[in-house]
Symmetry: C2
Subunit: 308 residues, 2 copies
Amino acid sequence: MQSMSLVVVGSVAYDAIETPYGKRERTLGGSCTYIALSAGYFVKTSIVAVIGEDFAVKDRELLASKGVDLEGLEQVPGKTFFWSGVYSADMNDRNTLRTDLNVFAGFQPKLPASYTHEPYLFLGNIQPALQSDVYRQMRRVQFVGGDTMNYWIAQTRDELLETIREWDFLLINDSEARMLVQENNLRRAAEKVLDLGPHTLVIKRGEHGAMLFRRDTLFMVPGYLLEDVFDPTGAGDCFAGGFVGYLAERGFDLKKGHVDLEELHRAVIYGSVMGSFCCEQFGVERFQTLTRKEIDQRFEEFRRFTAF
Amino acid sequence: MQSMSLVVVGSVAYDAIETPYGKRERTLGGSCTYIALSAGYFVKTSIVAVIGEDFAVKDRELLASKGVDLEGLEQVPGKTFFWSGVYSADMNDRNTLRTDLNVFAGFQPKLPASYTHEPYLFLGNIQPALQSDVYRQMRRVQFVGGDTMNYWIAQTRDELLETIREWDFLLINDSEARMLVQENNLRRAAEKVLDLGPHTLVIKRGEHGAMLFRRDTLFMVPGYLLEDVFDPTGAGDCFAGGFVGYLAERGFDLKKGHVDLEELHRAVIYGSVMGSFCCEQFGVERFQTLTRKEIDQRFEEFRRFTAF
């Protein structure tokens, strides 16, 4: 039994990205990719996703090199999901130029039998009904949560509310939190989200950091101040990977009777650390060289620059 | 000798304010007012400012009740500075409807003799040449800094650069820091500001918190998450009052041979605390009831929600 393993569902894609620092015509991307690469520094990660015939051997190798279990990475006839976008000069906005769902349009996540008894599950940003479907295939989950986006909040609201009702944590950005409960004040919005099911809400604020809300705690961390942000694509997913990956590594278990709030706070820091590294190079490039030692050093840097 | 006293120069004004929570037709305002009311919780504060014949006794009494020394508050024929503005729905923007300089147009700050030997000086946001003028009247300053704004950066750039060259610290918001050194990346912008003279730079980011930069430290704090922001007018000045007031209270002295970085970090927290209280009611109303105990409790709250 691999008691510390994390199952991740989401998209695996190719991205064309342009930022003020340059461009890439075709680089590995997708929420599942970023989450798994990030979480892979903390815990064995098993992914559930779909790719087309055009998926490159080197990209499969990158994931495998981080110990990612690819048994649930289904390859089918057709092309891999393709996304293309351009960032604004200050990188706070981006325009989507193209979204070709390709094989992702017919994605019906099927969990390999070896995944179904894992204790940790992160449901990346896909249609809520598919997130529910994956959750139902798991037999012994002890900590489950996920992400969503404005599209699902607007288009599939009831389905989304039904889906997240069973989650332990929801991880979204501030505008999505406000939109989900139609409340502009973030503190009140968070309280309303905690009425929807998840006992833990993590709100990502990009360069402005992140917050964790529970009935019994509030935790805030400022954003890491990067010398250069080359490409913010995937930073939110890397945050998710660091957050849930760290908790899985620590064997976080709600059934232990008491919740270790300090572990949750540290998980937010590890999320922030992983999101910051993601921005330092294009696409997933930073993960080709990143080491656990660098990650732990940046964690300590966060401690230094927030202690008083 | 009152070795712990702080001298503050700036504007004393009447404001008409409208926010989504309501409006006030005429309420005490001005940078000097907010800084002094805030700093007054930490240290004896002596103000240098000008008012007109219409200045109300009750407003003079409010300042006096916080121990503010009013000897340098000059009353002259004419009307007090008047400002009127309306905030946007999310309060992140405001439109100025009216600015009547009135007696402030002829402001020539004259320090009472009793002020000139004080050790702490904060130069609120006025014309840089007047800030320099006040500084030159002081005889034994051991810690000096101030604020400025986009108008002075654009209109009196050389004068401003000459003024801040002698300051220990500069306290401005993020867009002003970027504008001052023409650098969009905040980390690099901060390094460039530290080349201009001040060895300490505090950047205010409103609801997103604040940062302190020095060659030997970086400190960041997230914003306090208020249940309701009634009126952000004066919050930046109250931050300044908390920051410099706390340092004055502690007898902060650069000539001691080493700089106590932890004191500087805590000063940023007290600044954040005072800025947050300011937003809880209209204008200066929160200071009618605020106690030092509440301030210290919120300081501890900051510790709780940022510790990991």
